[in-house]
């Protein structure tokens, strides 16, 4: 007789604190403890809180930059702040991170220069940061494709024996792609140290989860691969941190991959170019505004006395400085060189590319001198 209970997620999202930042007694909170998730320490939660405050400031600055024409487009993750930053803070030196197009806040939490994060969207190059130096794959646009890379990288790290884990983000919509299935399966078969975190924000652009999947919850997909799974209240920073930490430890210990579904919501439209009023109501948005992860954690920490107004002001100021620096640097027109178009396609340009580079150079010269 097969027993699969250990692979199934908690029947309700793991949660430590409610929307008012009060610890939930019994119910899911108890379940969480039963399943071995420990309420994180104040210090850890303070770090998460700070990263969320900075992340959100970055995010709102980026949205503002679209209005000034400094960014072609920007997909905000406002509201998903807990998912954006908490898991990233669990990463160790050697771990790799696989973000999607939406996860700019997460990249900032990872310590990547915000200007480099925004290179893609400013349009001066594709990926602005060094993936090898930062152990962070380029933000991935083709949905779910990065999940297979994460499986391979995780297996590669296992082979290298360096103790590294691959943390892969993916959206609820993207779980419908075949690549997600193949990634989970490869990770499981090769017992790869990979953690897949589904940010279930309820929508894929305009398509609601109800048209995306009939699963009891997306986290129930894990059992079909023999992967341990969990679901978590994605707007409870403590729960997200605790579950991700457990998942990372599970993977790091050689127990194979882990799938987490974090229930959350994006408060902004899909991107600045999207009109979210076409597919969701103001009431729905307002309801989720009331579940703000920053407000929640801040209240919890203030209530406990782990945080005071002085520190809040300090971090707020830090956020303003970050935004000001970002604005200043993004307002400089980036230098672009047409000749660079030919430099990275291959390690050595083909004769065909050299001819084309000559052509473009000649045209440039003509424009300059003609």
């Amino acid at each position: 007789m097969t027993d699969v209970q250990h692979l199934l997620p908690c029947p309700e999202p793991v949660r430590f604190m409610d929307e008012a930042g009060t610890l939930v007694p019994g119910g899911p909170g108890e379940l969480a403890t039963e399943r071995g998730y420990a309420l994180p320490s104040d210090d850890d939660l303070l770090a998460v809180w700070r990263a969320m405050v900075l992340g959100r400031r970055f995010d709102s600055q980026a949205t503002a930059l679209t209005k000034q024409g400094r960014l072609a487009v920007y997909p905000s993750s406002r509201g998903q702040d807990a998912c954006q930053v908490a898991p990233v803070l669990t990463l160790a030196e050697q771990d790799w991170f696989f973000p999607t197009y939406r996860d700019s806040m997460a990249l900032v939490a990872r310590g990547i220069d915000p200007v480099e994060v925004l290179t893609l969207l400013r349009g001066d190059w594709h990926c602005g940061y060094d993936p090898v130096a930062t152990r962070t794959a380029p933000q991935c646009t083709p949905l779910a494709t990065q999940s297979v890379h994460a499986a391979g990288a995780a297996y590669g790290m296992k082979r290298r024996g360096n103790g590294g884990v691959a943390l892969c983000y993916i959206g609820d919509g993207a779980t419908s792609e075949g690549d997600f299935h193949e990634a989970l399966n490869f990770a499981a078969v090769f017992e790869a140290p990979a953690v897949f975190l589904v940010q279930n924000n309820g929508y894929a652009i305009s398509v609601p989860l109800s048209k995306q999947s009939k699963a009891p919850a997306l986290s129930y997909k894990g059992v079909g691969y023999g992967i341990r799974s969990e679901q978590v209240d994605g707007n409870d920073p403590a729960a997200v941190l605790a579950v991700t930490r457990a998942a990372m430890e599970h993977a790091r210990a050689g127990d194979g991959p882990f799938l987490i579904e974090a229930h959350t919501y994006r408060l902004e439209a899909h991107t600045n170019a999207d009109d979210a009023t076409r597919y969701r109501t103001k009431e729905e948005v307002a309801q989720w505004q009331g579940r703000d992860p920053i407000v929640r954690l801040q209240r919890y920490l203030l209530d406990r006395g782990a945080l005071d107004q002085a520190r809040v002001d300090e971090v707020t100021a830090e956020g303003e400085a970050l935004a000001a620096d970002l604005r200043a640097r993004m307002n400089l027109e980036p230098e672009v060189r047409p000749s660079e178009l030919f430099e990275h396609v291959y390690s050595t340009p083909t004769p065909q590319l050299r001819e084309q580079a000559h052509m473009v150079a000649a045209e440039e010269a003509q424009v300059m001198h003609g």
């Binding site: 072609a72 349009g123 792609e177 305009s206 048209k211 178009l341 590319l353 050299r354 001819e355 000559h358």
Partner: protein, 343 residues
């Protein structure tokens, strides 16, 4: 006559097809409530109901394969690949099934479906949103590959594609979505498989399609005004089937030919067109057939796309190089020494 955008013409074509044929269904990512990210399916769900125009899960192979299954039940699915590069996950379904089902079954099982692909660049889009993928489809026997360049063609060709008993890959140049024409719909233009002379000329034939049609027309104007070259512009409209007759007639008349296409140049449609013209009009040609194509690089970031996209200047330069030398592009390739070094 009223002003109609390319996007509106497409929307109207979908509407009229949905009205005329109850078997037509429109499906894809965000095509329902949202009306598509380019609003091409705007209002269809509202006006025709969820059954006729609906959102699918986010999986392109699934969309294509699901449409195959629906077509087996007599439906005429019109599917949308949200952007060119997002059609690639469906490649196996397109190449191994959609293109081959009719042939496989000796014509007993036909798949009258349309794959709409917003394609190509020029809109400042980031990576994966500006690919020119028509070459992949054109190289796949069993598919029709059609690409309108005007609002009238957008309407007429899409209606014909939906009515076609064969699968049609319908390539929509994103850069033209907002282009306009004075036009009364419904309108019927020349059928799939025919090219159209958009501007008559006597000195050189400029063959193009889709996103580069405006560039071609502009270049012809400038050429007439500044260089006194009389350029004939031919819009292919349909890549498969290919209208050899119109194309060759034009080149035989003018004796010179430039092929203009936005896609990366190597081993794509422009190469085919240039090869065909060179094969078939050899003795009419006063100069080699030259190509102006996108560079053989991944589609560049927005701030550099102008260097990649064929522009009026590049077209005019190329026409200017329709000289009678043996190595027409040495100007840019450098001397022979330089080329040897490149190796």
């Amino acid at each position: 006559m009223s002003t109609t955008t390319f996007a509106q013409a497409l929307n109207r074509a979908l509407r009229d097809s949905l009205t005329d044929d109850p078997d037509v269904v429109v499906l894809g990512e965000d095509v329902g409530t949202l009306g598509g990210v380019f609003r091409i399916t705007d209002g269809l769900t509202r006006d025709f109901g969820e059954e006729r125009c609906f959102d699918t899960p986010l999986a392109e192979a699934g969309i294509a394969g699901f449409a195959v299954g629906m077509a087996m039940q007599g439906f005429r699915p019109v599917i949308e690949m949200q952007f060119d590069a997002f059609g690639f996950p469906a490649f196996e379904q397109v190449v191994s099934h959609i293109a081959k089902m009719r042939n496989r079954t000796r014509g007993r099982l036909t798949l009258p479906l349309v794959i709409r692909v917003p394609y190509a660049g020029g809109i400042g889009g980031v990576e994966h949103h500006c690919d020119s993928s028509e070459g992949y489809y054109a190289h796949t026997p069993g598919l029709h590959v059609v690409t309108p360049g005007t609002p009238a063609d957008a309407y007429s060709l899409l209606r014909e594609a939906i009515a076609s008993p064969d699968p049609v890959v319908f390539m929509e140049p994103k850069v033209l979505y907002w282009s306009k024409a004075e036009l009364d719909l419904p309108a019927t233009t020349a059928p799939i498989g025919t090219a159209e002379v958009r501007r008559e000329g006597s000195d050189v034939t400029l063959l193009t399609y889709g996103p580069q049609l405006p560039t071609a027309l502009k270049a012809a104007e400038v050429a007439a005004a500044e260089e006194d070259w009389d350029v004939e512009v031919v819009d292919l409209r349909s890549i498969v089937p290919f209208d050899d007759e119109t194309v060759m007639a034009s080149v035989r008349k003018t004796g010179r030919c430039v092929v203009l296409a936005e896609a990366q140049g190597f081993a794509g449609v422009a190469g085919e067109v240039a090869a065909r013209v060179s094969e078939r009009c050899f003795h009419s040609l006063a100069a080699p057939v030259l190509r102006v194509s996108g560079l053989d690089i991944p589609y560049p970031p927005p701030k550099l796309e102008h260097s990649h996209l064929p522009g009026v200047d590049r077209v005019l330069d190329t026409i200017g190089r329709l000289q009678w030398d043996d190595e027409p592009d040495l100007t840019y390739a450098g001397g022979p020494g330089d080329r040897a070094e490149a190796r």
